[in-house]
């Protein structure tokens, strides 16, 4: 018994130390959000908890100041919701096609799905930019949503999930006279519900934090998402550190709240893509 307690204490102490290291940046940005931006520029981001310089000015400015922060915030929320909903619906449909049928070209197409997962999206930036331009989709959210609407990882995951659903359901549906699409919509989609939560989280996180492609596509300030908007504050000609830090701090809060509420789904979602042993 003695030995077990010792192990417990050592393990706990070890993880506490690592955990503190991980939390340091959050602590620093939290402290900084209560200090004037000028303080940050002069003394750097640090751990000093100095009540004499700390106040709520930045938060007051965040909520009442003349800036576009909450426009960006709302855009991010909207884009994430729309993107996740559409991606999940389209990907699930495709996955069902792969899972429920045998058809010519199926294997080839599925290899294409796997291949996409291995091609760095970044190399397509320039041609994709020209393409978006030619399609007249510049500066629109469609340009951000469409290329990822049939997400390879999501299709892959849904297909894995569907392979666990008995084929008899489909056969029974046909006997009852349901059409191919009716079977999918009325019988299969409802059963897939649990897998949607995990994928919603995974896609939601990616969408919420997505930067490079939206950054290239969007050019008007009122359409920026939160990461893009925050990045525009990083300019020596604006002196926007007050808003940048408090905005960064605040941008973590909603996702933290969601995370704490749906922890289990987050963790399932993140690990869902991993190949099961």
């Amino acid at each position: 018994m003695k030995k077990e307690t010792a192990i417990k204490i050592v393990l706990f102490a070890f993880f506490t130390v690592v955990c503190l290291l991980i939390l340091i940046p959050f602590y620093a940005v939290t402290i900084a959000s209560f200090k004037p931006g000028e303080d940050l520029i002069r003394y750097g981001l640090n751990l000093k908890f100095d009540l004499s310089v700390m106040n709520f000015d930045n938060f007051v400015y965040l909520f009442t100041g003349d800036h576009a922060y909450f426009t960006w915030f709302f855009n991010s929320v909207l884009l994430t919701l729309v993107q996740v909903t559409l991606t999940l619906l389209v990907s699930a449909t495709v996955a069902y096609g792969f899972s429920a049928y045998e058809f010519r070209g199926k294997n080839f197409l599925f290899i294409c799905v796997l291949l996409i997962m291995m091609v760095p999206f970044e190399i397509l930036l320039l041609p994709l930019y020209t393409l978006t331009n030619n399609m007249g989709l510049m500066n629109s959210y469609s340009a951000i949503i469409l290329p990822g609407i049939a997400g390879a990882a999501t299709i892959f995951f849904f297909r894995q999930y569907l392979s666990g659903i008995p084929k008899e359901i489909i056969a029974a549906g046909r006997v009852d006279g349901a059409s191919e699409y009716g079977i999918y919509l009325r019988l299969i989609l409802p059963i897939m519900k649990p897998s949607f939560a995990a994928m919603a989280i995974l896609n939601g996180m990616n969408s919420w934090n997505n930067f490079l492609w939206p950054f290239m596509v969007l050019s008007s300030e009122h359409k920026y998402t939160l990461p893009i908007g925050l990045k525009t504050l990083l300019t020596p000609y604006g002196n926007n550190y007050d808003l940048l830090i408090v905005g960064s701090f605040f941008s973590i809060l909603p996702i933290l709240a969601l995370f704490l509420a749906f922890q289990k789904y987050f963790i399932d979602g993140m690990t869902a893509g991993a190949v099961k042993g």
Partner: protein
């Protein structure tokens, strides 16, 4: 998830999605920053991109005057401010693809040659600049020209001067007025370091203001007559060797941010860690905006030189305002920017709002404008900037801007200056390497 709920969600998503698509590609600029400036219903809406928030304010002032004076040609201006790199990158893609460009944009001098490559996708501004030819500095018009066509309208001369922190200098017993040559500067700097432990100036690693001004003093340039790079010239070797010697003697030191015009450096200066900066005159606005603690302590003086009699200034930096080929109303945009950048009124406002040295030099002699006691810049500094400007008026040199300039700038600022001042690499060797690298990149 019940079927009904699911379908409802799908419908909502689709509606929102389609709403998001509609008419999206036509809008430009942030709606939060539309300048109406007294414009009526029939006003033409123009979009304007800049990387300096204050430039937008200047345009706002000029727009009010324009709209009042031209009731039949009123303008509404959509101002979008973006970070330096992002704005130039986006603009570059936009003019290349011909879609998404604003009507009017600011392009920084260092990036300007990139936009003049090939067939410039900008409107020539010769016709609107013509009436102002006698009143503004010709070399500032040439700076943004290609093959006789003017493509950008300059904002300022950017005469480089020395900014001294008199408080530190007094502590060290140094009188900045006695600093005439770099030798004087070195002696003063060593004294400052000895007495106060502070550095006199900066060894810049991310900008070439210092190299440019030292070249200009020697009548040299970064490029030869044909515009080809020559960064391993004896003049630049001499300049950097001198700076390196200053660094070795603790007169100058590298600074966080790499040069005085960065947010980190504002903090360092504001804390009184460096006593001098050699910067174009527009650095004044950085002092007033970001270094409040130094109010009443900063004096402006001509630059030190290698030998007495050498020219004591060069025009550094700058922004050319352009009209893109895809502008909605090209003539209106051109007329407006000529008015907002070249007219006498504009030049007076450029000093009042932005604290820049205007390119219409007659403003320099208008005592009521330049010595206005209410002016924030006049109030901030120990002496009046125009007293210095008028002293060096005929000595302001220029460093050419050629198609090689962006590459030269990039190599020096990312690699060479870091090697010299951070790693102590031999000056000649570092510059030879830079020359080879630049030639390779331009191939």
């Amino acid at each position: 998830m019940k079927k009904k709920g699911f379908l409802a969600l799908m419908v909502v998503a689709m509606v929102v999605f389609l709403a998001g698509c509609g008419g999206s590609s036509k809008e430009e600029g942030g709606e939060s920053s539309v300048l109406n400036a007294g414009a009526g219903e029939s006003a033409t809406e123009l979009s304007y991109w800049t990387f300096v928030e204050l430039h937008g304010q200047h345009f706002e002032k000029m727009l009010e005057k324009w709209n009042a004076a031209n009731p039949d040609r009123q303008i509404k201006l959509n101002v979008t401010v973006m970070p330096y790199d992002d704005m130039h990158n986006k603009l570059s893609i936009a003019v290349q693809t011909g879609v998404g460009a604003p009507d009017i944009a600011d392009i920084e001098l260092g990036k300007f040659p990139d936009f003049l490559a090939g067939t410039p996708q900008l409107e020539p501004l010769n016709d609107v600049a013509e009436p102002f030819k006698g009143t503004v500095v010709q070399s500032q018009l040439d700076l943004y020209s290609k093959e006789g066509n003017i493509y950008g309208l300059s904002t300022h001369v950017g005469a480089t001067v020395a900014f001294y922190n008199t408080e530190i200098l007094e502590q060290a017993g140094v009188d900045y007025k006695t600093i005439v040559t770099w030798d004087d500067f070195k002696k003063a700097g060593m004294q400052v370091y000895e007495k106060t432990g502070k550095y006199m100036g900066t060894a810049d690693t991310s900008a070439i203001w210092q190299e440019s001004l030292l070249l200009a003093q020697q009548g040299a340039d970064l490029t030869d007559e044909a515009g080809n790079p020559k960064v391993n010239s004896p003049e630049l070797v001499k300049a950097l060797t001198m700076l390196k010697d200053l660094q070795d003697n603790n007169v100058i030191s590298t600074i966080a941010g790499g040069q005085p015009d960065t947010e980190e450096a504002y903090g360092e200066y504001n804390s009184g860690n460096y006593a001098a900066a050699f910067m174009p005159l527009w650095q004044m606005s950085r002092y007033t905006n970001y270094m409040a603690d130094l109010q009443g302590k900063i004096a402006i003086a001509p630059l030190p030189v290698f030998e007495k009699g050498m020219p004591r200034s060069y025009g550094g930096g700058g922004t050319g305002t352009v009209v893109t080929k895809t502008a909605k109303d090209v003539q209106l945009a051109k007329d407006f920017i000529a008015y907002a950048k070249l007219s006498l009124d504009a030049n007076i406002e450029i000093w009042n709002t932005l604290g820049f040295d205007p390119i219409n030099m007659s403003v320099w002699d208008m005592k009521d404008v330049t010595h206005n006691p209410e002016n924030q810049f006049v109030k901030y500094f120990v002496n009046n900037p125009f007293d210095v400007l008028n002293e060096i008026k005929d000595e302001i040199q220029l460093i050419k801007s050629t198609s090689a300039s962006p590459t030269i700038n990039n190599v020096l600022c990312t690699v060479t200056l870091n090697e010299i001042f951070e790693d102590g690499k031999d000056v000649q060797k570092a510059l030879d390497d830079a020359q080879a690298q630049i030639e390779q990149e331009l191939k």
